[in-house]
């Protein structure tokens, strides 16, 4: 039934029903939209605006040109370095783990998933605190390393880059493994069987069939890990012990120590642009590889 062959009265009735329907949909989305506008768009927009002014309220690009000073450049380099290391380690550990969750014996795969979820749901501050204890000079990790004869003197595993990377990898692993697992789960085993039927060795079938099919999941997980690590604050601030300086920490100190909103905002803007650029590149790359298939 359409409004055209119904009577004029009916058509008006339908139009008003349609209007009510639209109104209802608009009304149900509105509160969430308002919240996002007030607590997200407004603050971020305001910071963008602030980043364009100096302390006296004069329009300037000085907040941005200042970021070329060595101290800021160093921070950027260190932030990207940490994000790259964490991403690479997460890929190396996460890929076999996700593979095992897909192909391993059922009960062990379930256990692997359970362990992953418990870790993901445990408070991030709690986990960071636990790493402080485990990695300290007279902690478990050093006890173990010394018992195994790997080292004679306790190593400094925390309050430095090592501790930061260990803690970050621990927090980021679920973000790597879950998308990867979803991608691997959706690969039909029939492809591997077909490869085997044509005489491919398991290694060859893995390399030429399974691996390429799992790459989109790998890209999604790696991007997520990289992007979240870029802007991470809590764990590097606690496990880095002041020796690790990331962009997020400089933003924090610019605001709470120097009340320099222009500097903090411009750093935040650059961090945000770097994040969006990263996501854009990966999305373009994924689109391209899909088209070329």
């Amino acid at each position: 039934m359409s409004a055209i062959d119904a009577g004029a009265l009916n058509a008006r009735e339908l139009r008003s029903a349609d209007r009510r329907h639209r109104l209802f949909l608009f009304g149900s989305g509105l509160p969430a939209l308002l919240l996002v506008l007030v607590t997200f768009v407004l603050p971020i927009g305001w910071l963008f605006w602030l980043s364009l002014f100096d302390a006296d309220g004069q329009l300037t690009i000085q907040n941005y040109t200042r970021l070329l000073e060595p101290i800021y450049v160093l921070t950027f380099v260190q932030t990207f370095k940490i994000a790259v290391i964490v991403t690479v380690v997460c890929v190396l550990i996460g890929y076999p783990y996700a593979y095992f969750m897909t192909k391993g014996p059922h009960w062990l795969a379930s256990l692997a998933m359970g362990v992953l979820l418990v870790s993901l749901w445990t408070s991030l501050l709690v986990r960071t605190y636990a790493w402080l204890i485990i990695l300290q000079r007279r902690g478990m990790a050093n006890d173990l390393l010394m018992a195994l004869g790997i080292t004679d003197v306790p190593l400094s595993l925390v309050h430095n880059l090592t501790g930061t990377v260990i803690g970050m990898v621990h927090i980021m692993l679920p973000f790597m493994i879950l998308p990867l697992y979803a991608a691997m789960k959706s690969i039909d085993p029939i492809y591997n069987q077909a490869a085997a039927a044509f005489g491919a060795s398991p290694a060859r079938a893995f390399r030429d069939v399974f691996l390429p099919l799992s790459l989109p999941g790998l890209a999604a997980g790696a991007t997520l890990v990289f992007v979240i690590t870029l802007g991470f604050y809590v764990t590097p601030a606690l496990l880095g012990g002041g020796k690790v300086q990331m962009i997020s920490m400089r933003i924090e100190s610019d605001v709470s120590m120097y009340a320099n909103w222009g500097a903090a905002s411009s750093l935040g803007v650059v961090l945000l642009i770097a994040t969006l650029l990263m996501l854009f590149i990966v999305k373009k790359g994924a689109g391209f590889s899909r088209r070329s298939e």
């Binding site: 209802f24 949909l25 608009f26 149900s28 989305g29 509160p31 969430a32 939209l33 919240l35 996002v36 607590t39 997200f40 768009v41 407004l42 603050p43 971020i44 305001w46 910071l47 550990i93 076999p96 783990y97 593979y99 095992f100 391993g104 692997a112 362990v115 992953l116 979820l117 418990v118 870790s119 445990t122 408070s123 991030l124 501050l125 709690v126 986990r127 605190y129 636990a130 204890i133 485990i134 300290q136 902690g139 621990h170 692993l173 398991p202 870029l230 802007g231 809590v234 601030a237 997020s248 933003i251 924090e252 605001v255 909103w261 903090a264 935040g268 961090l271 945000l272 994040t275 969006l276």
Partner: protein, 271 residues
Amino acid sequence: MSRIQQNLSGMLRASWLYLLVVLTMLFLVLPTLVVIPMSLSDARYLSFPPKSLSLEPLFSYFASLEWRTATTVSLVTATLTMLLATTLGTAAAYSLHVSQSRLSGVLRGLMLAPMIVPTIFIAIGLFFVYARFDLNNTIPGLVLAHTLLALPYVVINVGAGLRSYDMTQEQAACILGASRLRAFFDVTLPQIRFSVIAAAMFAFAISLDEAVISLFISGGDSSTLTKRMFSSLRSEIDPLIAVVATLMTLLSILMLCISLMAQRKAKRRSL
């Protein structure tokens, strides 16, 4: 011969995989396991395993007004955030699911954006804006901020629930004379309730665990547990932290269990 060799190398590869996975599992679960015995240690400095067990830290936690207040603030904030985020998020997910307007893509992006924007950036922005509305150091301020962070997870979870739900049932209710609102509450909501429950658990856990925004916008009597923990971990470590950490861990495992049960039921329903 080559077959045996192949099997052997396959087994070797598999045992490598097993070893790697078991080690990773230990790595993943170790921090969660370490926390609980730590809270029962009477040592003044932090060592693991504890030299002797005692309930002393537990008593001093309950005796400390500061930590008790922070616990109340965190629990109240998390509960209110859960209620607000679940309500707003479910309504928004419904709107995005049903609407065919071109705008809904933009709205969806906007609602998911807080997931990828660095939290520190949102934190200083909120701190700045809140200063103008006297919302710093207040529970409503915290609830609004945490709801923003929880919203994407609710929208995604409830959206997934809606996708596996047959919308024609709601249309049928409307044809039979129910109002749109009534149809939603009586027909749709009961069928997506497990996705909604799972989303609510997410929202609670996100609020309870949120540290970066709380660090800026909470203080004094409205300090959250995470803010107190962060400050304490930064200066000298208060042995009471172990008790708080245990409390938070037990609570989040409870949330995980509820959400898993809800998700399992939601999945069964959609089959």
